[in-house]
Symmetry: C2
Subunit: 689 residues, 2 copies
Amino acid sequence: MKKNSLKSLFNPASIAIVGASGKKGKIGNIIMENIMKLGYGGDVFLVNPSCKFIKFKRCHPSLGSIGKKVDLAIICVPAKFVIDVVKNGAKNAKNFVIISAGFSETGKEGAKREKELLAIAKKNNINILGPNCLGFIVPKIGLNASFAAGMPDAGNIAFVSQSGALAVGFMDKAKEEHLGFSSVISIGNKMQLGESELLEYLAEDRETKVIGMYLEGIKDGKNFSEIAKKVSAKKPIVILKAGKTAKAQQAISSHTGALAGSDEITSAVFEKIGIMRADNLDEFFDLLQLISFTDAPKSKNVAVVTNAGGAGVLATDSFKGKEIELAEFVKNEKENLRRNLPAEASVENPVDLLGDAEEIRYQKTLEILNNEKMGCILCLLTPQQQTPVEKISEILKCEKAKNKALIAAVFVGGERVEDSIADLKKNNVPCFSDPQSAVDAIDKYYKWNVAEKSAPKKLAEKNSLERKKQSNEIISKALADGRKALFFPEASEVMEKFGVKCVESYGIKPGDGVPEIKNYPVVLKVDSDKVLHKSDKQALILDIKNKEALELELKKLRKNFPDEHFVVQPMMERKTEIILGIKKDAIFGPVVVYGLGGIYTEVFKMVDFLVLPADFDEIKKNVMKGKLRFLFEGARGQASYNIEEFARILKGVADFARKNDKVREFDVNPLFIYNDGREALAADVKIIL
Amino acid sequence: MKKNSLKSLFNPASIAIVGASGKKGKIGNIIMENIMKLGYGGDVFLVNPSCKFIKFKRCHPSLGSIGKKVDLAIICVPAKFVIDVVKNGAKNAKNFVIISAGFSETGKEGAKREKELLAIAKKNNINILGPNCLGFIVPKIGLNASFAAGMPDAGNIAFVSQSGALAVGFMDKAKEEHLGFSSVISIGNKMQLGESELLEYLAEDRETKVIGMYLEGIKDGKNFSEIAKKVSAKKPIVILKAGKTAKAQQAISSHTGALAGSDEITSAVFEKIGIMRADNLDEFFDLLQLISFTDAPKSKNVAVVTNAGGAGVLATDSFKGKEIELAEFVKNEKENLRRNLPAEASVENPVDLLGDAEEIRYQKTLEILNNEKMGCILCLLTPQQQTPVEKISEILKCEKAKNKALIAAVFVGGERVEDSIADLKKNNVPCFSDPQSAVDAIDKYYKWNVAEKSAPKKLAEKNSLERKKQSNEIISKALADGRKALFFPEASEVMEKFGVKCVESYGIKPGDGVPEIKNYPVVLKVDSDKVLHKSDKQALILDIKNKEALELELKKLRKNFPDEHFVVQPMMERKTEIILGIKKDAIFGPVVVYGLGGIYTEVFKMVDFLVLPADFDEIKKNVMKGKLRFLFEGARGQASYNIEEFARILKGVADFARKNDKVREFDVNPLFIYNDGREALAADVKIIL
């Protein structure tokens, strides 16, 4: 039902403009003019209690007085009047666009107003875009329901922007770049309709081939992830997500009150769900152009064809670290190229057609290479004395029309190439300013295309309820005792239920003597949530050789830490240390973080993220394409570590993370893993409640 | 004397065109037309033995028959005639540009021809640009001595290109971007005049403010480094160096026969000598525009001013990992901004002027922030309904003229901003397409500006001759024995002379019994250049507890490695392992490579380069800004390692590298370093001859 209603929001048969005005420069006037003069064919009603007519058109005092229902009401009255307008108009319109500012972006007062508005929307089952937005534009039906000037070209890009001002610049640039839009939607404060709702709507929108979003924050990351994963399986999504740095996050919260999550987690989530993340504005344009104009490359093989050796070398450089690669030409192709090109030309990849190449060399070469096995042909050109730029671009258009390899162009130049570039773009041949940006964009598009498109599996879990119950009992007991953390013996009991084996340990309560221990040497540690970095605070004594020494050390420690619990463990051989834990991301919820441990964890930053939910196979894949892969492959003659075991442990941690919302922080540090058949063992587990 | 002669090459009073032709489309015709019709005011002589006149202008049969000397002869006859032309013409011209292809780029035959040509040049003390080049252009004197079309604008950029075809595209694009050139020089095969010679010339050229180079290879890296360091201390050098990947290196060697060095070393060298390296073509343009238009920022403080919050957030993101940073405004500035901007505007950095900002808000804001303490003001704009784009660009021009902070612009848009962008560029206000590219370029310019501009110091070395003599004796003896490597005891003797202390060791020759050793446990290793990865080939036995065990192990090892030497060393505590050695780079000569050792060296890639020569202070700085810095700072409560000691060791290795050209490969692996006062010790040293 929601989908239907969004359809009538963005394709309304009738529109009322509440706050329409005859006064030039006022938002209500700009929007009225945009709707009435740029080709919209539906019914338009003006609403403004203080006028009877605006430019000879009748003006209604309220939505109710129009006398019939409208599909869409656009509100551009001051914030203080908005709630009444919506409340009273809810029976006359089911879709509202609220242009007016003065809501949550302005502080407490505004936030209260916004909350009230949302309640009205829910109660009346109406849709509201905004508040504090630019409006939206659907070029195909000539509808500019915004206060941005002009009408972008119709096309297949849906552009959703959390910044109205950026959307304006974007549309202006898009016109020059011959990019067309199915819709441009400014989401403002995203009170009700945000990125998730629009993804769902646009996924079904036939006019939309690619969804581009500029976002500063993401609302309800879990819901967003689920929807985006489904949508990206059939339509490419490109997101320019701002807020990478702490400073940027500050700018955001003062800008729209959006909450920005940790940037690395955002990237991990985007990768998991198949969203192409644009690194900057230029790349965002490049990706939208590429996807709008052409289908994804069918293979990773790329041929580079150039009339300038130097450009070919630069293109070759660009493949560093990419999945797409310079194709190895087959014998037949090489011979064919050799027959058709001058002796000095290079028939290796990049194919160097030489500086005096006319269109025929491009044509022959493209005809030979434009086949089903070639993913992409990247055509480079510099406008030399003898270069027939226009004729060569005709060849490219012609080869593009064959619909085999992806044809893309980099014409390095100015005046001598600009008309041809424009013509290529009009004919949907993607053009880039630099071989590097071409290869970057094509690589992302290729990766999106080959990413697994399967829907997330339902995870079957054995004994799930039982172990949840047991672990909850332990946690509840600790909470009842007024504690903020589990003692190590408790934590290890919980962990073992989730498949993480912990080192044998002996708890020492206040007043207890030393326990009977068979095997020395041992380690003695303070077991308290008040002592976090044990090695820093001298709360950890290593290599205690016998019972007498243990007694002595315990006595010493008790002086510094009276009333604390202690724990004794066998001294472990320090081999490979892993750190793993849960980061509760403000946007996306719990994410498993795992990496190489030891004192240099922060220096090496060999850390990966596991975005939940994830089944066993997915976890294995996540590890094997991540930074810890080297451990499980066997580097430099080392026996490899056990990936099955490690994935099982991660799975246990992931299950624990999802089952226990009382746990505030959680980490295993270190987990010792071995490559000699011994079992992995957690030496310390911290469960903070 | 050379500088003088290059001056008459690029500013000739008279030119002879050898191979001039009346036939349209021929290179000799294009060059003739370019020289005669685009404004060159000097004397021009045509040379072609098969014509008497070309277009009513007299044609001479040879250079000699002109009857007087010319400053410059441009040769565009087929390769086979070039040598005779130059040989016979050497007394009539002291500068030659050889356009003709068919030299070293074509293979053996051509390389031979080129060698002969070089010999003639040396013998006759003449300058030759090329062969296989496009020629050159000096716009200020209206001289287009190339076969590229048109005349770029005169300006302060000297552009040197190893690819003529790329230069053509570059000039075309530059016109559109309002970039002007002091000269455009195609260096072709760089037979005699290459990047180093041109750097020297352009350093003295008053018209040149910034030198931009596209290079595929570098000739004589040592000489280049020395010259570039001197030049970059006074003029910025921007280099787009192609050949980053192995594939690219292949493309190069088939392209111009240039030898590409390892890309990481190139970057390290560029950084050391103060060259700005452009990562790609777009960045190359951005940097040249920036430097051509404006002086470097005087401080790292950047203010961002925007009429679109989103653009401000994106700009903030761009500062991640940069040295320049968002300025903290002082109280006075904030108050002043507050007074002059609407209440909803943000007076934090980025300053958000709001979507309805007219020129007055930009003006007030820039007036407040444009002062001596502000390094740069980055002005962002999207063309919204109320945005007076032209008027705002007038403000920017005006503020730029005050010559305080660097003023740069990012106008995101198309038609509505393009005229203003063009106008800004004409007025030397640098414009970028994206906040990210603006920040990238400004950061590189800033770093260049604050880099140390001191000339390399002469290194005083103590006992330098003596230790060289002693180590040479050891090496010579090994060579006389027909060995390709030193035995460990020899290598450690050599190393100790250069200040690298090695672990105590006992050599065992074939036939020897086990030596008397005081302290067990020990390690037994095969000591041979034939066994490189000892742990892989089981040529290393650890933790031998006593003499009997040692005898047994030696016996076993001797079965597998008869006739080899062995070495016994005390078992070392594995603490922090360092690997260091020398990489003899094909271009830049010996470079010291040092990094974290251990089995995961390749995985962690915690490796830095020390480009030689380097004195003690420079070595310390190199370590402390590199990847191993964490060791010497004390991470996570660890005691820090001894930087003085480590720098001394690196210095010793560097000295050894520079003194011993008989050493082919050399590494110390591992070097154990300690943070508890113990001395660093090399456990293995490989010196391959």
